[in-house]
C-alpha cells in the first residue's frame, strides 16, 4: 500500500517532467552527475507481481528490483528543463519535457515570498516586429544597392549631436574657425553589447563578451561597444587600451565606482561612453538584484560589499526629477571625464517615455548624449517573476513616439535614440535592429542573445531561467567555480564574433533593398505591416 496524500507534491506538479526510458538506460550516472539542480537521482524500482503460468490458477511470484533514474518530487529541486541530462546521455534515455499541468506558480510561493528568476518575460510572446517586413524594395526607380560590393556607412552616434546652426563656427578672412568645445560624439556600430554586470555573469562570460568586443574592433574594424553593467569594471581592463571600447555604467547602487575612479589616473585612453542606468525594461521598479549565491569574493572586492543579497534601489537616491537628473548625474559624469566622454541615460520604456525624452531634448547644457529605451522583453539575471511578467512597456511604439516627438521639434538625431529589450529574441537581431532603425532608433542594444551565443539554453518558454540561483548549468550566470569552468571562453567569444560578422552582412542585405548607404534612421516608409493596428500606431504602410 502506498501512502501518498493528495497534497503531497508529485512530479506532475512541477514545471518540467523527466521522460525516462529505463530500457535504454545503462545507469552510467552521467545525467545525475551533471544536473546542477539536483533534480534527479538514482533509485531502485520493484517490478514484483503475482502471476500464474500453469494450466489453471497457480500463483507464483515474479520478483525483480531494477535500478532507475527518478525525478525528485520536490519544488526546491524542480527540473528547469535545461536538458543537460539529455545532452550527456549516451543512449537518449532521458530528457525533460515541459509540463502544461504544472502547479509551480502555486507551490513555489509556499515560502511566503515572491518567485524570483532570470531570463525574459515569459508571457509576452507576441512581437510587433514579426508582423513588420521591409517592404519598400528599391528596384526600377531607385536602383537598389549591391550588398556585397557597395560601401555602407553602418554607424550610429553616441553623444550629443549639435545641429549645424548651433555648431560654434565662425568665419574670419574666409576661413572657418571652431570656437570652443563641442560635445563629444562617438560614431559606433549600431549594436551595443548591453549591460550585464560582473556578478550577474561569471568572470569567463563577462570576459568573453569583452574579448569579442575587442576582437570585432581590432580584427574586423567593427566599432562595437560593450557596456559594463552595474557591477564595476575590471581594473586591468581599465588600465588597457581596450577601455576605448567600453561604456561604463552607473546605476542606483553605484557598485564598483570606487575602483573606477581610482583607475582614472591610470587610464591610457578614455572609455567609449558612460551610461546612467535609471531603469531596466525587464523589471521596471524592481531595481538591481544580485542574489548572495553569486556574490563571490571577486564580486565583493570589485563592488565593495560583503556576501549578501545585493539590491540596487529602484531609484537613484538624491534625484527627484528629470531636470535634476540632467543637472546632477549628467554633469558629474561629464565633468569626471573632462567633458571628453559622452554620457547617455537608460530608462525603462514607459507610458511617460516621450515626456522624458522631450525634457532631455530641451537639455540646455547639451550634455545628454543618448536616450536608451529598454522594453518589456528585455532579459535580466534576477528579478521577481511578477515584475518580469507583469510590468514593463513594449519598446517599439515608444521609440517611434519619441522619434516622432523629436521630428516635430526638428530635433531628431540630436539626442541619439537607442532601443533594447528583446532585440534578437527570435535569433534575427539584424532584422530587429534594422526595423527599429527605420522607425527612428539610431541603434539598438542586445544582451540576452549574447549569453545565448555563449551557450545559455534559457528561453522565453520557461526553459531554465535559473540565472538567479547560481546553478547555471552552462557556467555563464554563476560564480561557482565548478560551473564557471564549464564555459569555454574562446568558443563563447568566437560565437559572438561570428554572429556579429553575419549580422553585419545581414544589415547590408537589408540596407541594399532600401537603397540607403547609411543607416536608414526614421525611414519608416521602408516598412510595411499586415496588421492594421500596428500600421496606424507606427504610421507605416498597411498591406495585405
Amino acid at each position: 500500500m502506498e501512502t501518498v496524500r493528495t497534497q503531497d507534491v508529485s512530479v506532475n506538479d512541477l514545471p518540467w517532467k523527466i521522460e525516462y526510458l529505463p530500457e535504454r538506460c545503462t545507469m552510467c550516472g552521467s545525467c545525475v552527475a551533471t544536473c546542477t539542480f539536483n533534480a534527479i537521482e538514482a533509485g531502485m524500482e520493484r517490478r514484483s507481481i503475482t502471476v500464474s503460468t500453469a494450466e489453471g490458477p497457480e500463483p507464483t511470484q515474479r520478483h525483480l528490483a531494477t535500478p532507475v533514474i527518478k525525478q525528485k518530487n520536490s519544488v526546491a529541486n524542480h527540473c528547469v528543463g535545461c536538458g543537460m541530462c539529455e545532452k550527456i546521455c549516451p543512449n537518449k534515455a532521458i530528457k525533460p519535457v515541459r509540463n502544461p499541468d504544472g502547479r509551480e506558480n502555486l507551490l513555489a510561493r509556499s515560502t511566503g515570498k515572491p518567485i524570483k528568476r532570470g531570463g525574459r518575460n515569459n508571457l509576452q510572446q507576441e512581437r510587433t516586429f514579426d508582423k513588420i517586413v521591409i517592404g519598400r524594395i528599391s528596384q526600377m526607380t531607385d536602383p537598389s544597392l549591391d550588398s556585397e560590393r557597395h560601401t555602407f556607412d553602418i554607424l550610429a552616434p553616441f553623444g550629443r549631436v549639435l545641429p549645424p546652426n548651433e555648431l560654434p563656427f565662425s568665419t574670419q578672412n574666409g576661413e572657418l574657425h571652431l570656437n570652443g568645445q563641442i560635445p563629444p560624439v562617438r560614431w559606433i556600430y549600431p549594436i551595443i553589447f548591453s549591460d550585464m554586470s560582473i556578478g550577474a555573469l561569471s568572470t569567463r562570460a563577462w570576459e568573453a563578451i569583452a574579448m569579442a568586443t575587442a576582437y570585432l574592433n581590432e580584427k574586423h574594424h567593427l566599432p562595437v561597444r560593450m557596456c559594463s553593467g552595474e557591477g564595476g569594471m575590471p581594473v586591468k581592463l581599465m588600465e588597457s587600451e581596450y577601455l576605448q571600447y567600453m561604456i561604463i555604467q552607473i546605476a542606483s547602487g553605484h557598485f564598483g565606482w570606487n575602483r573606477i575612479i581610482k583607475a582614472m589616473p591610470k587610464m591610457k585612453v578614455d572609455p567609449a561612453g558612460i551610461l546612467i542606468k535609471i531603469g531596466q525594461g525587464a523589471k521596471p521598479g524592481d531595481g538591481g538584484l544580485l542574489p548572495a549565491a553569486k556574490v563571490a569574493e571577486h564580486v565583493q572586492a570589485i563592488r565593495g560589499v560583503p556576501k549578501a543579497d545585493l539590491l540596487s534601489p529602484p531609484n537613484h537616491q538624491g534625484l527627484y526629477s528629470i531636470e535634476e537628473s540632467v543637472q546632477k548625474m549628467h554633469m558629474s559624469l561629464n565633468a569626471a571625464f573632462k567633458f571628453r566622454v559622452p554620457v547617455a541615460i537608460k530608462c525603462a520604456a514607459s507610458a511617460t517615455s516621450v515626456s522624458v525624452y522631450n525634457n532631455l531634448l530641451r537639455d540646455p547644457y547639451r550634455i545628454c548624449g543618448g536616450f536608451f529605451l529598454d522594453g518589456i522583453q528585455g532579459g535580466t539575471g534576477a528579478a521577481n517573476e511578477i515584475s518580469l511578467d507583469h510590468t514593463g512597456h513594449p519598446v517599439v511604439s515608444k521609440v517611434r513616439e519619441c522619434y516622432q516627438a523629436a521630428v516635430k521639434q526638428g530635433r531628431q538625431g540630436q539626442i541619439p535614440l537607442w532601443a533594447g529589450g528583446g532585440i534578437g529574441l527570435t535569433g534575427d537581431a539584424a532584422a530587429d535592429a534594422m526595423k527599429m532603425i527605420c522607425l527612428g532608433a539610431n541603434g539598438v542594444f542586445i544582451g540576452k542573445i549574447l549569453i545565448q551565443l555563449c551557450g545559455c539554453i534559457g528561453n522565453e518558454h520557461g526553459r531554465c531561467n535559473s540565472c538567479s540561483t547560481g546553478l547555471c548549468p552552462t557556467g555563464i550566470c554563476t560564480q561557482d567555480p565548478r560551473l564557471v569552468k564549464r564555459l569555454d571562453i574562446d568558443k563563447a567569444a568566437q560565437n559572438i564574433v561570428s554572429y556579429i560578422l553575419a549580422l553585419d552582412s545581414e544589415m547590408r542585405k537589408m540596407m541594399a533593398p532600401i537603397g540607403n548607404s547609411s543607416l536608414p534612421v526614421g525611414r519608416s516608409d521602408a516598412l510595411v505591416t499586415t496588421d492594421r493596428a500596428i500600421a496606424d500606431k507606427l504610421a507605416i504602410q498597411y498591406t495585405c
Binding site: 538514482a42 531502485m44 588597457s240
Partner: protein, 776 residues
C-alpha cells in the same frame, strides 16, 4: 559587299529598320556588310547564313550591344570605339573594336572572341561563362578596364594588356573580380582592389605563356597594333587572377580568439587581480574536486526504526545481520550488551516497540524481533577480565537495579544489589502474571546476573541509616527502588478500595486473595489488565474495568481481558465507592463487590536524605542520572514507565556511574532515526504470512535499516568502478570511494537498500576568486 548608311539628310534610320535591312540582305545571300551606323543597337547578331557561309561586318559608330548574341562564323570589326555591352551574350562571333569599349563589354560572353584596341568601361567581362561543349570565350583589352570588372565571372579568358595605363592605380580598376568563380584574367602592370575573398593572384605558368604568346599576334594584328608585340612580350610583367577553388573558400569567417587572447588581449585576464583562471574547460561530468556532489558511506550513522524505538536501544538489525552471516551465538549474545532480560522482557512482557515501525511492515509484516529475545535466554557473556576494585551498591532488585548491576559488574566493579523483598526480580517477580512471564525464564535470567558476579542481598529493607551506611561503604550508590505505593484518590468510600499492586503481588506470592463475584478495576492501563486477569484467576465471575480516558493498555492485554469476559467502560469518572459498587459522577451505579484501584504507583523514597529533591513524589536527577555526589537513580523512581524504559535508563545510568568511577565523561548518545526515504524496499520480495520464517531466520526479511548489510550492490553498480570494500585488521569492513574515479552520480546511494550512502554537495573549496584586504 552590302553597304548601308543610316543617315540620309537629317533623317536617322531606326535600329529596327537597319536590322531588318541587314536581315533582308542576308536572306538574299549577302555575306559582307559595311554599316555606317549612327548609334543603332544590336548590330551583328544573332545572324547566320542559310548555307553556313561566314559573315563579315565592318561597322562605324555603332550603338550599344554591337555583336550581341553573336554566332560562330560572324566577324565584326568596329572602326573606332563602341559604347556599352559589346559582345553581350557573345555565343561565338569574333568582335574587334579598334578603339575603346564602353561599360560592361563582353558582359555574359560565353563563346567567341572579343578584341578591344583601347580601354573598356566599368563591369566589363562580368558574368562571362564557359560552356564545356565549346572553346572558352576570349576577351582581350589592349589598355585597361574600369572598376568592378569581371564580377561573378564564371569562365573564359580575359586578357588586359595594360598598355598606356601607367597613370592608373590599377589596370583592372577597383574592386574587380567580386564573386568570380571561374575562368582566368591575365593582366600586365599594376592591379589592386581585386576581391581577396574570391580570387588569388598568381604568376604565369608555362601554359599561360603559351596561350598568350600564341594569341598575341592575332590580337595585335586585329587591332592594327603589331608594333606593340615586343613591348607586351615581357612575361614577367604579367600576372593572372584565378578564382579560389570551392575548397579554398573559407566556409566560415576566420576568427581566432585563442591567438588573440594569448597574444593581444590583456595578459592573463582582465580579472587577473581578483580571479585565478587557467581557462581550462571542464565537461559536464567530472571526477574528484570538480564533482558537483560526493558520496559518503556512513554505516550506522542512523538508527534503524527498531533500535530507535526501543528505549533500551537494542540494535536488532545488527542481530539479524549476524544471523545472516551465520554468527548465531554472536547474534544472540549481542542483546546482552543492552539488557540482561531478553527472555523475560523482550521475549515475554515487552510490548515490543521495536516492531511498531519496522520498515518491513510496509512490505509485509514486521520482522519478528520480540521472539528473538527468547533465543538469548540461555546465553551469557564472558566475565570481566579486569577488576576495578570499586564498590557499587544498587538499592532495589527490579529490572532497573539488576540491569544497572549487570552493566556495572561487567565493567569490573564489585556490585551488590540490596532487595527489600525476599526474592529478586522486582515487579517481574512480584506483579507480572506468571501467565505472561514463565517463571523459569525469569529465574534463569536472574541467575545469569548473579553468575556474572553480582551479589544479591534480599530481605534488605533500606532506611535512612542503612542508606547512609551504604553510601559511606561504597564508591557509588544507585537507587532503583521503583514505585510500589499504589496511588489512591480520596473519594468517599476509598477505604473500601483494594490496591492493585498489593493484589498482584499477593497472587504472585501464591496467595489466594478473596474477591467478590463482581469486581471493578479502576484504571485501564496494562497493570489494570493484569489486575483484571488476576481477578478472574481469583474466582471473579464478572470484571468491569473503567477509566476516565481511552484505555492505555496494549491491544493484546485488552483482548486477553475481553476473552475472559471482561468489559471496559470509558470515559467513566468515579464519584463514590459504596458497598454496592461505584457511583459515577453522573449518579449511575456500577455494581461491584470488590473494587481494585490500578492507576499507577509512586515510589517510597523515605530512606533518602531529607534534602533530596522530589517532584510529585519522584526523583529529579540531572542529565547524568545523578541525585547527589556518587548517588544515581534510574527507573520508576524518576517516572512511571515500562520495563524496557527502566532497562534503557538503567543502562545509561550505569554508564554514567562507570564514567564517574573511572573519571571519564559521560555523554548520552543521541539517536537519529533513519529517514524512511533513504531505504530501498524494492529489493524485498513480499512474503505472505504463511511463509513467515522462524524468528531466528527472519534475517531474510530484515532490511538492515541504517546498518550496512554488506550486499555489495553499491560496489557492483558503480558505473565508474570507484568503490572498493576494505577489510580492516580487526575484521570490520568499510566501503570506500576512489575520488579519482567517482563522478558523484549517487548511484551508490540510490541502490543501497540500507540507506548507508549519502550524496553531499561537494564542499571542497576551489580557490578561484580572492578578495585582497588592505595591508595593515
Amino acid at each position: 559587299m552590302y553597304r548601308i548608311s543610316t543617315i540620309e539628310g537629317n533623317n536617322r534610320m531606326s535600329t529596327q529598320d537597319l536590322l531588318q535591312r541587314i536581315n533582308d540582305a542576308l536572306a538574299a545571300g549577302e555575306t559582307e556588310f559595311y554599316v555606317e551606323a549612327s548609334g543603332q543597337h544590336d548590330i551583328g547578331g544573332p545572324l547566320w547564313h542559310p548555307e553556313d557561309k561566314p559573315l563579315k561586318f565592318v561597322v562605324k559608330n555603332p550603338g550599344q550591344r554591337v555583336g550581341s548574341m553573336c554566332l560562330p562564323g560572324t566577324e565584326i570589326i568596329v572602326e573606332g570605339s563602341a559604347p556599352a555591352d559589346i559582345g553581350w551574350l557573345n555565343a561565338g562571333g569574333k568582335i574587334i573594336v579598334r578603339g575603346d569599349g564602353g561599360d560592361t563589354t563582353a558582359h555574359c560572353a560565353a563563346s567567341g572572341t572579343i578584341y578591344v584596341g583601347g580601354r573598356v568601361g566599368t563591369r566589363s567581362g562580368s558574368l562571362m561563362k564557359h560552356d564545356p561543349l565549346y572553346d572558352p570565350p576570349e576577351f582581350w583589352v589592349l589598355k585597361n578596364c574600369g572598376s568592378f570588372g569581371f564580377e561573378f565571372m564564371g569562365g573564359g579568358i580575359a586578357v588586359v594588356c595594360g598598355y598606356d595605363s601607367e597613370e592608373f592605380a590599377s589596370v583592372l580598376g577597383d574592386r574587380s573580380c567580386m564573386g568570380m568563380v571561374g575562368g582566368i584574367v591575365y593582366f600586365r602592370g599594376k592591379a589592386s582592389g581585386i576581391s581577396p575573398k574570391d580570387v588569388k593572384i598568381a604568376a604565369l605558368e608555362e601554359q599561360d605563356i603559351a596561350y598568350l604568346d600564341g594569341k598575341m599576334d592575332d590580337f595585335l594584328a586585329s587591332i592594327n597594333r603589331p608594333d606593340l608585340r615586343r613591348e607586351l612580350n615581357v612575361w614577367s610583367e604579367w600576372k593572372k587572377v584565378v578564382p579560389l577553388s570551392y575548397d579554398e573558400r573559407p566556409k566560415k569567417a576566420a576568427v581566432d580568439i585563442l591567438s588573440f587572447r594569448m597574444n593581444e588581449w590583456v595578459p592573463g585576464s582582465i580579472f587577473g587581480d581578483v580571479c585565478t583562471d587557467d581557462y581550462a574547460v571542464k565537461g559536464l561530468v567530472n571526477t574528484d574536486t570538480y564533482r558537483l556532489r560526493v558520496p559518503a558511506w556512513e554505516n550506522a550513522r542512523y538508527a534503524a526504526p527498531c533500535e530507535f524505538n526501543c528505549t533500551a536501544s537494542i540494535p536488532s538489525q545488527q542481530r539479524f545481520n549476524l544471523l545472516r552471516e551465520g554468527k548465531v551465538e554472536e547474534a544472540y549474545r549481542l542483546v546482552l550488551e543492552y539488557t540482561p532480560f531478553p527472555g523475560s522482557v523482550c521475549g515475554a512482557v515487552c510490548p515490543n516497540l521495536c516492531m511498531d515501525e519496522c520498515t518491513r511492515q510496509e512490505i509485509d509484516e514486521s520482522a519478528q524481533i520480540g521472539a528473538l529475545g527468547t533465543y538469548s535466554a540461555d546465553m551469557t557473556l564472558p566475565k570481566p577480565e579486569i577488576r576495578t576494585g570499586k564498590k557499587v551498591a544498587v538499592i532495589g532488585g527490579g529490572v532497573a537495579g539488576l540491569t544497572a548491576a549487570w552493566q556495572l559488574v561487567r565493567q569490573g566493579h564489585d556490585v551488590t544489589v540490596y532487595e527489600g523483598d525476599d526474592v529478586m526480580g522486582g515487579k517481574l517477580e512480584q506483579a507480572i502474571p506468571r501467565s505472561r512471564l514463565p517463571h523459569d525464564t525469569l529465574e534463569k535470567e536472574l541467575k545469569r546476573v548473579q553468575d556474572m558476579g553480582v551479589v544479591f542481598k534480599t530481605g534488605y529493607k533500606v532506611d535512612r541509616d542503612k542508606f547512609n551506611t551504604l553510601r559511606a561503604n561504597n564508591d557509588a550508590v544507585l537507587v532503583a527502588t521503583g514505585a510500589h505505593v499504589s496511588r489512591v484518590i480520596p473519594w468517599p468510600g476509598h477505604e473500601r478500595l483494594v490496591k492493585g499492586l498489593d493484589f498482584l503481588k499477593a497472587i504472585n506470592r501464591g496467595e489466594r486473595v478473596p474477591v467478590g463475584k463482581r469486581v471493578i478495576v479502576i484504571g485501564c492501563g496494562n497493570s489494570g489488565m493484569d489486575t483484571a486477569v488476576g481477578a478472574y484467576q481469583m474466582g471473579a465471575e464478572q470484571v468491569t474495568c473503567i477509566d476516565v480516558q481511552q484505555p492505555a493498555a496494549f491491544a493484546k492485554e485488552i483482548a486477553h481481558v475481553e476473552e475472559l469476559g471482561g468489559v471496559l467502560l470509558w470515559p467513566v469518572a468515579t464519584k463514590e465507592i459504596t458497598a454496592a459498587g461505584i457511583v459515577t459522577d453522573k449518579g449511575e451505579l456500577i455494581p461491584g463487590d470488590t473494587v481494585i484501584i490500578s492507576i499507577g504507583d509512586t515510589p517510597d523514597l523515605g530512606f533518602l536524605p531529607a534534602d533530596t529533591l522530589l517532584e510529585r513524589g519522584h526523583l529529579r536527577p540531572d542529565a547524568q542520572y545523578r541525585i547527589a555526589e556518587g548517588v544515581y537513580t534510574a527507573g520508576d523512581t524518576i517516572k512511571p514507565g515500562r520495563l524496557v524504559d527502566a532497562i534503557g535508563a538503567a543502562r545509561e545510568a550505569a554508564l554514567a556511574v562507570n564514567a564517574y568511577l573511572t573519571g571519564a565523561a559521560y555523554e548520552a548518545v543521541q539517536k537519529a532515526k533513519i529517514p524512511a526515504e533513504k531505504l530501498t524496499k524494492a529489493y524485498f520480495k513480499k512474503c505472505h504470512t504463511c511463509d513467515l520464517p522462524q524468528a531466528g531466520e527472519d534475517y531474510t526479511r530484515c532490511i538492515s535499516c541504517g546498518t550496512c548489510r554488506d550486499c555489495q550492490m553499491c560496489l557492483k553498480s558503480c558505473p565508474e568502478t570507484a568503490i572498493t570494500r576494505m577489510v580492516h585488521e580487526d575484521g570490520h569492513f568499510e566501503y570506500v570511494t576512489n575520488e579519482k574515479k567517482c563522478i558523484g552520480c549517487g548511484i551508490c546511494a540510490g541502490v543501497c537498500p540500507c540507506g548507508i550512502w549519502t550524496l553531499y554537495k561537494n564542499a571542497e573549496p576551489i580557490n578561484m576568486y580572492k578578495t585582497f584586504t588592505k595591508a595593515q
